[in-house]
C-alpha cells in the first residue's frame, strides 16, 4: 500500500510540475527563513548557559534614586569584590572585570589588542577552558597573561605561545601562562586576552578604595545551596556598611538572565532582549505558517482534479483513514524535498545572515540532535501543511465526484479565503512595519547633532602621546594637517563619565541630578564646530585661571535654573568651578533621546582622546598622511589608529538599521511566498471557471471585463487583509516607537503606500492568469463538455 502511495505521489508531483515547483519553493523558502530565525533564537537563549557554575554565577548590580526615579546598573566600585570575599561567607569566588587595550610586541610584530583585566578567580568561575596552563594559578602573578587561541596565533603564528614572553606597551614583559580555547559565539565576553587585576592597579596608581566610582563589573559565585533571595537580603547594605555613601542598594543578577532579562525599571526586572527573541520566534512561526498555508491552498484548490481519484479509491474500498494517510504521506514527501532545499538555502545564506545579525552561527553537521531536530521540523511542517488538505480531500463523497456533479465549494467564507487573508494580513503588517522603521531611522539620522561631524577625526591616546601632546598639537596645526585640535576625556560620540556630585546656588538639597562630564584642554568648540550661545570657550593660554573653568550645555542651564549662567560658581566636593560659557545642545549619546545636561570641564582633568579637524584645503588622504607622520614622530612605538567621527556616529543606528533590514527581508519573503500561493490559486481558479468564462464571452463579455472579474475576487481578499493589518501594524509600531523619546508620528501615507505596494503586487500576480483565461477561445472551453 505504501509503495502504491509513493508511486502515485511521485507521479502527481512530476505531472504537475508548476504546482510542485510552487509548492516546494514556497515551503523551502518558508522553512529556510524560519530555521534561520530559529538558529538566531537558539543562539540568543543559549548565551552564557554553558558555564558549569551557571546556577551559582551572578553579577553585582547597584540601585539608587535619581530625579525621583529608581535606576539599576551593573558597574560597581572596585573595592566591592574584596569586601564580598572577605565579609560574606556565602560568596565562593569573585572577580572584577574591565576592558583594556595595549600594544603587544613579539619580535618585530606589533599589535594593538583588546583584552580584559580580571581577578584570578575568573578562570575557575567561568567555563572558558585553558588548552594549556592551570586555570587555578594562571593569573596569580602580576605579569601573567592568558591568551585566546586566536590572539596566540595572531602574535606567534604557528609557534608555541605558551611560556613565551610578550612586551606590553614597551614597558613591561609578560609571560604567557595560559592558552584559552576561543570564546564560543554565545557569551557576553569579548576579549583577546586576560590580564591580572594587579597589573591594572600597578598602572593606575595602586589599589582603589573609592566606593563612589562605579567603573567595573563584579562577578561572584555563591556557595552551593545559597539562594539568590537569601544573599540579596544580606548584600543589600554592602556599600552603606563599607563607605559613607548611604543611598545605594546592591543586589545580584543571575547568569541565566544576563542576556535576555537585563532591563530594569523602578528596581523591577522588566524583560530586555527576550522581547526581541519572542518577536522573532513569532515571526518565524508565522513565516512557516504562511508557507504551510500555501500548501493547503494549492492542494485544496486542486481538489477537483484529485476528487476523481478519491472517489475511485473509495469505490474500490479505501477507507477515510487510508486516504488521510495517503495525503499526509504526500505532504510529508513534499516537506522532505522542501526541507532538503531549505537546508541548502540555509548553508548558502548563513554567511550573509551572520553579517546581518552580527553573529557567528554555523550548521552543526556532526550533531545528532541537530539532525533529529531537522527531521522533526520537516515532519512538523509536513503534518501542519498536510492536515487540512488531507481531511478535506478524504471527505469527498464518491457519488457526487464520479457523477461529475462535484464542484468545490465557493462559499462566502471558505477556509481557503481565510487562509489567503491570513497570509496577506501578515505580509501587509510587515510592509507597514518596514516603512515605519525606515522612517524612524531617517528621522533620527537627519536630526541635527549640534556639531560638525565631517572631517572630524579622533585617536585614542597611547604611549608617548600624553607626554608629547603639546608638540603633536602644534605640529598638526603647523603642518596643515588639521585646523583645530582638542584633547578630551572621551570621543565626542560616547559618554564615558557622569556624576551627580555637583551643587550650585539655588539647588535643592534633596535633589540628585546626574550630569554627563566631558573634559577638554581648549579649542573644544572650534574643533567640534559647536555653537557658543553665551560666554566663551575654555582657553587656558588666554585666561590662566581657566584651569577651573567649565562650560554648560543648554540642558544643564535649564536643570540648574540659571538666568545668567556665565560667572556662576558650581561646586563638586572641595573643587570649585566657574561657568565661562554655554554651548548649544549636541548629541553625545543616543540620537533617539533628548540631550542630557552636561558639564564640560577645563584642562585640569583627565584625558584619553585627541580630536582634530582635518584641513579641508587638502584631500582627506593627504591630511591623514600628514597627521600620521606627526603621530609617528612623537609616538613611534605605536601604530597610528584613527576613527572618523562620522562613521562612529553612524554606528549608533546599527541596531535600527539591522531591524529595518530584517523587517524588509521578512516582509519581502512573506509577500513572495504569499504571491506564489496567490499565483497558484489564480491559475486553478482560472481553470475551474473556464466554462463560465466561455459562456460569458459567448454572451458578449470583453477580455478586460473577464480578466478584471477574475482578479477582483482576489483583490477583495487583499482588501480585507489590509483592513485587518492597519490596526495591528499601528498598534505594534506605536509600541515600538515609544521606546524612543525622539520619534516620528505614524502618518496616514504609510498605510497608503503599503496599500499601493500590496495592490500592485497582487494585481501583477493574478492578472497574468486572469488575462490568459479571458483570452481563451470560448469554442474550446465549451466543447470540452
Amino acid at each position: 500500500m505504501f509503495k502504491n502511495y509513493l508511486k502515485i505521489t511521485w507521479r502527481n508531483l512530476v505531472k504537475n510540475k508548476s504546482f510542485t515547483a510552487i509548492n516546494i519553493a514556497g515551503l523551502a523558502i518558508g522553512m529556510a527563513s524560519a530555521a534561520l530565525i530559529l538558529f538566531w533564537v537558539q543562539n540568543e537563549v543559549s548565551y552564557d548557559r554553558f558555564h558549569e557554575k551557571k546556577y551559582r554565577l551572578y553579577t553585582m548590580y547597584n540601585q539608587s534614586k535619581f530625579d525621583g526615579k529608581l535606576w539599576s546598573w551593573n558597574t560597581t566600585p572596585k573595592p566591592m569584590m574584596k569586601a564580598l570575599k572577605q565579609d560574606y561567607p556565602q560568596v565562593d569566588e569573585a572577580s572584577r572585570n574591565t576592558a583594556g587595550s595595549f600594544l603587544f610586541s613579539v619580535g618585530d610584530k606589533r599589535l594593538n589588542l583588546q583584552g580584559n583585566f580580571v581577578d584570578p578567580d575568573f578562570l575557575t568561575m567561568f567555563s572558558f577552558p585553558l588548552l594549556k596552563g592551570d586555570s587555578h594559578t594562571a593569573l596569580n602573578d602580576m605579569k601573567n597573561i592568558v591568551l585566546t587561541e586566536k590572539t596566540a596565533k595572531a602574535l606567534f603564528g604557528n609557534e608555541e605561545a605558551y611560556g613565551k614572553t610578550i612586551k606590553i606597551d614597551s614597558v613591561d614583559y609578560f609571560t604567557v601562562t595560559g592558552i584559552m580555547k576561543d570564546l564560543p559565539n554565545n557569551t557576553r565576553f569579548k576579549f583577546g586576552y586576560l590580564m591580572p587585576w594587579k597589573y591594572w592597579e600597578k598602572t593606575n596608581g595602586g589599589e582603589e578604595k573609592n566606593w563612589g566610582n562605579n567603573s567595573v563589573q563584579t562577578y561572584i559565585t555563591l556557595k552551593p545551596g545559597i539562594t539568590e533571595a537569601f544573599f540579596n537580603a544580606r548584600v543589600k547594605d554592602i556599600t552603606r556598611s563599607h563607605s559613607d555613601i548611604k543611598d545605594i542598594d546592591v543586589f545580584v543578577h543571575p547568569a541565566s538572565k544576563w542576556r535576555l532579562y537585563s532591563k530594569f525599571e523602578e528596581g523591577k526586572q522588566v524583560g530586555g532582549k527576550i522581547e526581541t527573541v519572542k518577536l522573532f520566534s513569532i515571526i518565524a512561526g508565522f513565516i512557516l505558517l504562511i508557507a504551510c498555508i500555501n500548501f493547503m491552498n494549492l492542494s485544496t484548490a486542486r481538489s477537483e482534479k484529485r476528487a476523481k481519484e478519491v472517489g475511485i479509491r473509495k469505490v474500490v474500498g479505501a477507507g477515510k483513514s487510508s486516504l488521510i494517510a495517503q495525503f499526509m504521506g504526500e505532504s510529508l514527501l513534499i516537506a522532505l524535498f522542501a526541507g532538503i532545499i531549505a537546508l541548502i538555502i540555509i548553508i548558502l545564506s548563513l554567511p550573509a545572515f551572520n553579517n546581518l545579525t552580527q553573529k557567528q552561527l554555523f550548521v552543526p553537521y556532526s550533531s545528532v540532535s541537530f539532525w533529529l531536530i531537522v527531521l522533526g521540523f520537516i515532519v512538523f511542517t509536513g503534518l501542519v501543511a498536510g492536515s487540512y488538505p488531507a481531511l478535506y480531500l478524504s471527505s469527498f463523497a464518491p457519488v457526487k465526484v464520479l457523477k461529475g456533479t462535484f464542484k468545490a465549494a465557493n462559499a462566502a467564507i471558505s477556509p481557503r479565503k481565510v487562509l489567503v487573508v491570513t497570509q496577506f494580513t501578515f505580509a501587509i503588517v510587515l510592509i507597514i512595519c518596514t516603512i515605519i522603521v525606515k522612517e524612524q531611522l531617517d528621522y533620527a539620522q537627519n536630526r541635527d547633532t549640534g556639531y560638525a561631524r565631517n572631517n572630524l577625526v579622533y585617536t585614542t591616546m597611547s604611549g608617548d602621546m600624553s607626554k608629547n601632546y603639546r608638540l603633536i598639537r602644534n605640529e598638526l596645526l603647523s603642518s596643515g594637517a588639521a585646523t583645530a585640535v582638542t584633547k578630551t576625556s572621551a570621543p565626542i560620540t560616547e559618554g564615558w563619565s557622569d556624576t551627580w556630585g555637583f551643587s550650585w546656588d539655588g539647588k535643592q538639597e534633596t535633589s540628585k541630578i546626574d550630569f554627563n562630564i566631558f573634559n577638554t584642554d581648549g579649542s573644544f568648540t572650534k574643533t567640534m564646530g559647536l555653537k557658543i550661545i553665551d560666554g566663551r570657550d575654555i582657553d587656558i593660554t588666554k585666561y590662566p585661571s581657566d584651569s577651573s573653568a567649565i562650560m554648560l550645555n543648554e540642558a544643564a542651564v535649564k536643570v540648574m535654573g540659571f538666568k545668567h549662567p556665565v560667572g556662576q560658581v558650581v561646586r563638586n566636593g572641595n573643587s570649585k568651578y566657574i561657568v565661562v560659557g554655554v554651548v548649544k545642545d549636541f548629541i553625545l549619546q543616543s540620537p533617539y533621546e533628548p540631550v542630557k545636561q552636561m558639564i564640560i570641564q577645563g584642562p585640569s582633568s583627565w584625558f584619553n582622546v585627541i580630536h582634530f579637524k582635518l584641513n579641508d584645503k587638502l584631500s582627506t588622504a593627504q591630511s591623514l598622511k600628514l597627521a600620521e607622520s606627526v603621530f609617528k614622530k612623537y609616538n613611534s612605538e605605536y601604530p597610528f589608529e584613527y576613527h572618523f567621527v562620522d562613521e562612529e556616529y553612524g554606528l549608533k543606528f546599527q541596531d535600527e538599521q539591522r531591524m529595518g533590514t530584517l523587517a524588509s527581508l521578512f516582509a519581502g519573503l512573506t509577500i513572495f511566498i504569499s504571491c506564489l500561493g496567490l499565483f497558484g490559486l489564480a491559475t486553478y481558479m482560472a481553470q475551474n471557471r473556464i466554462k463560465e468564462i466561455g459562456v460569458r464571452k459567448v454572451l458578449g463579455a470583453s477580455v478586460i471585463g473577464v480578466a478584471s472579474m477574475l482578479s477582483k475576487d482576489f483583490l477583495k481578499l487583499v482588501g480585507v487583509a489590509f483592513a485587518i493589518s492597519v490596526p495591528l501594524a499601528w498598534y505594534f509600531m506605536d509600541q515600538w516607537l515609544t521606546k524612543y523619546s525622539y520619534h516620528v508620528e505614524i502618518s496616514v501615507w504609510v498605510f497608503i503606500v503599503a496599500a499601493i505596494i500590496t495592490t500592485v503586487i497582487s494585481i501583477l500576480t493574478v492578472s497574468s492568469q486572469a488575462v490568459k483565461a479571458a483570452l481563451t477561445n470560448p469554442v474550446k472551453s465549451l466543447r470540452s463538455e
Binding site: I8, N12, G319, A397, L402
Partner: protein
C-alpha cells in the same frame, strides 16, 4: 441477494425538496442480470448508488445477503462494499496517474491481498479481458473500449458477488459497446449477479429482467425470454 422495501430518498436544496426514490421496493436474486431503465431524473442512478452502498437511503429497508444495511455507517458500508461489490461506470473512472496494472490492482490493495497473490490475480483478469499487452500503459493511452475493459477488470478482480454497472456503454461506439456487453454476459454466466442502469434498449436485451422506473417508483417489469 438483494431485497429493498419502501426505499425513500430525498434531495433538498434551500427551497425545493426533490423525491428521488418514492417508497420503492424490489428484489434481485443471486445470479440474476437485471437492467434498470427509465428517463433522466427517474432515480436510476440514486438507486444504483444506494444498492452499491455509496449512498444511504432516508427511509426504508435494504437487505443485502440477509444483512440489513440501510443504516450502516460509512465505515461498515465501505467494508461490506469492498468485499462484495464491483463497479463499472459510464466514464470508466480510471486513475490517470496509475498504469493499467496498477488500476486493476487497487481493490486488492485495499482488501489486503499479498503482493505476489495480487500479481497473479491481476494478470489472470487482464488476460481474461484481453488487455494484458497494455498492462504498463496509462489510461490516456488507451481507446475508450480498452479503458472500459480495464474498468471491468478492476470491478471483477476481487471476485465480487455483485457488479453494478452505470451505463457501461454510454461513452462507447456500438462495436466496443457490444464487446463490453458480451463480457458482462460472460461474467453473469459464471455466476456474478449484475445490475445495470442503461438508456439503451439494445443493451437491456442482454439482461434477464428489465425494471422500469418513473418518478422514483417501479412502473413495470419485463422478464426477458
Amino acid at each position: 441477494m438483494i431485497k429493498i422495501t419502501n426505499l425513500e430518498k430525498f434531495y433538498r436544496t434551500e427551497e425545493v425538496e426533490t423525491i428521488a426514490l418514492n417508497k420503492l421496493s424490489m428484489h434481485v436474486d443471486t445470479g440474476e442480470f437485471v437492467a434498470i431503465m427509465g428517463p433522466s431524473g427517474c432515480g436510476k442512478s440514486t438507486l444504483l448508488n444506494i444498492l452499491g452502498m455509496l449512498d444511504d437511503p432516508d427511509e426504508g429497508s435494504y437487505v443485502f445477503n440477509g444483512i440489513e444495511v440501510a443504516h450502516f455507517n460509512e465505515r461498515k458500508r465501505a467494508d461490506l462494499r469492498k468485499h462484495n461489490i464491483g463497479f463499472v461506470f459510464q466514464s470508466f473512472n480510471l486513475i490517470d496517474e496509475l498504469t493499467v496494472f496498477e488500476n486493476v490492482e487497487l481493490p486488492l490493495i485495499y482488501t489486503g491481498v499479498s503482493a505476489s497473490e495480487r500479481v497473479k490475480r491481476v494478470e489472470e483478469v487482464l488476460d481474461k479481458m484481453q488487455i494484458m499487452h497494455r498492462r504498463n500503459h496509462y489510461p490516456q493511452q488507451l481507446s475508450g473500449g480498452q479503458q472500459q475493459r480495464v474498468a471491468i477488470a478492476r470491478a471483477v478482480v476481487n471476485k465480487p458477488k455483485l457488479i453494478l454497472a452505470d451505463e457501461p456503454t454510454g461513452n462507447l461506439d456500438s462495436s466496443n459497446g457490444n464487446d463490453v456487453m458480451e463480457l458482462l454476459t460472460d461474467l453473469n454466466e459464471q455466476g456474478t449477479t449484475i445490475i445495470m442502469v442503461t438508456h439503451s434498449e439494445h443493451d437491456a436485451r442482454y439482461s434477464h429482467r428489465i425494471i422500469r422506473l418513473l418518478d422514483g417508483q417501479t412502473v413495470m417489469e419485463n422478464i426477458m425470454v
